[in-house]
């Protein structure tokens, strides 16, 4: 056998082995373990967040020994590659091939919207602790899509705007990534702030992955604003916070951030430049609540880092659904009843520290913290609550029916009150 022949036959053999071990087996019957499909971006632009999503979910299921009401939990993890087409493909695989009882996960709004559109047809329960797209629990709500332990994008920036008004801020400029998540968060802030008598001086929208913020920061420095609101995620947040400090704006103009701008996934790599940033959220890792503190300590001990929004939300989301499964004694095959039970379940003893419930649209009502980034004795930074807004729903103080008549927030509609 010459070398060429060898290569060919080896290649063919390897291919055959590959085909043989492929999961072509028929799906298993409904009885037996509860199968859960976890969709997370393990590759692509938001892979680091995706990995923490998996950690958080596994961490919770391990804490209950992978058993709910005597039934084993089987967690099937699929990579959505940060791409909506892949997410859709993987959701199909989990539902049609693996026969999962329910789906949870996804990080980017477009992946979540794609999967939500699919489960609308199949009726599979789908839980979205991270996906914040407003309309999934508002104008285009789907019964079997529930935002357990998540939040809708404009929910938290409204109390932040109220807080800013109370500080006497009159003029705010916003700087945000130019996509729906940013439009919605800025919209919540802009509407509440202007309706309360404040002025949005200017809104800057920049593409994702902006390396240099100096064009925006240079303008902001001369605008005589009382505060700046930054809606940034991931590496953009890191860069903005760093450049804000190196432009000498830190300490001069207060920096307000969206929850994700001062999330642990961002500030765990930062130094003094992130100190003092104010942001609103349902969770503060620096809270003195004993349940929160225990969760933070356990998570840090296991993974060697303070939990981020991704790890925390998936942990709490999985906990929420598991509470519902327990209430049904593990018999969750009746999907209608299952969704109803989840909607009725109130989550106590979670890392949130307080009991939370869902509104009729499937979005949680939280006590929202206004948090400040503070240096810990060990030199690391975390978010500490400085004020609490009790029972904030996704509709703030608006009447839901009236609110839903206005269009969804976009680059062109920010709800800014004229005059």
């Amino acid at each position: 056998m010459d070398r060429r022949q060898f290569l060919k036959s080896t290649g063919a053999g390897a291919a055959l082995i590959g085909l043989g071990s492929a999961p072509w087996q028929k799906a298993l019957a409904q009885e037996g373990p509860i199968k859960i499909g976890l969709l997370a971006p393990l590759t692509g632009v938001v892979a680091s967040g995706g990995r923490e999503m998996v950690e958080g979910t596994q961490f919770f299921f391990e804490s209950i020994k992978n058993t709910v009401a005597g039934r084993k939990i089987e967690l099937i993890i699929e990579d959505d590659a940060s791409n909506p087409d892949t997410a859709l493909q993987k959701a199909r695989r989990l539902v049609e091939q693996s026969n999962v009882n329910w789906l949870i996960g996804n990080l980017l709004a477009n992946t979540g919207l794609a999967v939500a559109n699919y489960v609308k047809g199949t009726g599979t329960p789908y839980f979205i602790p991270i996906i914040a797209a407003d309309d999934l629990t508002q104008r285009h709500g789907i019964r079997n899509v529930v935002r357990v332990a998540g939040y809708s994008a404009s929910q938290f920036t409204r109390p932040l705007a109220d807080w800013a008004l109370k500080q006497g801020y009159k003029r705010i400029a916003t700087i945000s990534q130019d996509y729906t998540f940013g439009h919605e968060q800025c919209g919540g802030l802009a509407q509440t702030f202007t309706e309360g008598g404040g002025t949005i001086v200017q809104q800057f929208w920049h593409p994702l992955n902006t390396a240099d913020f100096s064009p925006y920061l240079g303008q902001i420095a001369n605008m005589k604003v009382d505060a700046v609101f930054a809606m940034e995620t991931g590496a953009d947040a890191t860069r903005l916070i760093q450049q804000y400090a190196s432009f000498g704006l830190k300490g001069k103009i207060p920096l307000l951030g969206a929850m994700n701008a001062t999330d642990q996934s961002v500030i765990r790599t930062l130094g003094d430049e992130c100190e003092g940033i104010i942001s609103p959220a349902h969770f503060a890792e620096g809270s003195d609540n004993p349940t929160t503190q225990k969760f933070v300590a356990d998570y840090t001990a296991k993974f060697g880092k303070t939990p981020s929004l991704y790890g925390f939300s998936m942990y709490s989301g999985a906990m929420w659904v598991s509470k519902a499964m327990e209430a049904m004694a593990g018999k969750i095959e009746n999907r209608d009843l299952f969704i109803d039970t989840v909607m009725k379940t109130q989550l106590a003893d979670s890392p949130l520290g307080k009991t939370v419930r869902l509104d009729e649209f499937g979005n949680p009502i939280y006590d929202v913290y206004i948090r400040k980034v503070v240096k810990r004795p060990d030199g690391k930074f975390w978010n500490v609550p400085i004020e609490t807004y009790p029972s904030v729903s996704q509709f703030w103080r608006f009447d839901p029916a009236t609110y839903l008549k206005q269009p969804a927030y976009s680059r062109t509609f920010q709800g800014i009150k004229k005059g």
Binding site: G11, A22, P23, E78, D85, L113, Y118, R411
Partner: protein, 311 residues
């Protein structure tokens, strides 16, 4: 038996086998098979240019996706699926003709870069024209006609369409027009001196290829019920081209083998390891080294060798 009848026989057998597949496969696997057919058509449309006119396009993902966008948009606005499909294909053909106008006078790497740039423009428009395209969230809707809800039925309809389209493309590349394209591929200057209008032939070839990509994109809209900028992104064009190359450039029906290989690999490997892209990359490198003429191309060479050694 002439070569033509042999191809037709093999084609007919392949269609019959493909038609029997849903009886053995699970619902999800039938979905994958449907996708293989759709992307097979896209890869074939790329092969018209790459294999027969010697022009490698990196803009076909965009042409494909334009049709997907138009179909989903129009059906969501209340248009009948058939009319929307027609308009979607028309839109893709129109976009392809504009691409063609700009690109036909170039060849080689310049053609590659120009089509890449044009595709990026389409992607940019889909990303930024939020009011119409939904920005990066894309468009969603339950647009598949109710009669085709059943996954097997939908597969058979797509299979029938694929069979007709494949026959049409096969006829097209074997027509005198197709032969002219091949002439241009082999020597542009000779064809020009023989009196052929080279740019016009390339223009028509490109537009026809865009038409087929548009059909694939339109069908994809009904398959996916969802479209976002990733459908028109460069990665889509590259994937289409990879399917063509893996199957074998210039083999036409190799496109289906390529599409099947890539889609199955992606879906199986990614469930087992998050390093699936590495595995895919290595596989492509191996194919390029061991069978640069693609799977079907290699098979033909091998069959030819066996036959010659017998005679």
């Amino acid at each position: 038996m002439t070569q033509a009848t042999r191809t037709l026989t093999i084609g007919a057998i392949a269609v019959v086998i493909a038609a029997l597949l849903p009886l053995f496969l699970s619902k999800y696997q039938v979905g994958l098979a449907t996708e293989v057919l759709i992307f097979g058509i896209l890869a074939m449309s790329i092969d018209i240019l790459a294999g027969y006119a010697g022009r490698t396009s990196l803009g076909h993902g965009a042409i494909f996706g334009v049709s997907t966008y138009v179909v989903i948009y129009l059906v969501s606005e209340g248009m009948s699926p058939v009319a929307a499909l027609g308009l979607g294909i028309l839109a893709s053909t129109f976009v392809a003709s504009i691409f063609a106008l700009l690109a036909v006078r170039t060849s080689g790497v310049y053609f590659l870069l120009l089509t890449l740039a044009l595709g990026m423009i389409v992607w940019g428009i889909c990303l930024r024209w939020t009011q119409v395209t939904g920005g990066e969230n894309g468009l969603r809707g339950d647009i598949r006609p109710e009669a085709l809800y059943d996954h097997k039925l939908f597969y058979w309809v797509v299979l029938a369409a694929t069979a007709v389209l494949s026959l049409a493309i096969w006829r097209f590349v074997r027509s005198p027009f197709g032969l002219t394209l091949r002439g241009i591929r082999d020597s542009e200057s000779r064809m020009r001196s023989l009196g052929y209008n080279v740019p016009l032939h390339l223009f028509i070839g490109f537009t026809v290829s865009g038409f087929f990509a548009g059909v694939a994109g339109g069908i994809y809209a009904f398959f996916n019920n969802f479209v976002s900028p990733s459908t028109v992104a460069l990665a889509q064009s590259v994937e289409g081209l990879l399917m063509t190359i893996v199957g074998g450039v210039g083999t036409l029906f190799g496109s289906f083998v390529g599409a099947a290989a890539i889609i199955t690999l992606e879906n199986i490997v990614s469930s087992h390891t998050e390093r699936w892209q590495t595995v895919l990359g290595l596989t492509f490198i191996l194919i390029m080294i061991l069978a640069p003429e693609g799977i079907v191309g290699k098979a033909r060479v091998l069959i030819e060798r066996v036959r010659r050694s017998k005679s």
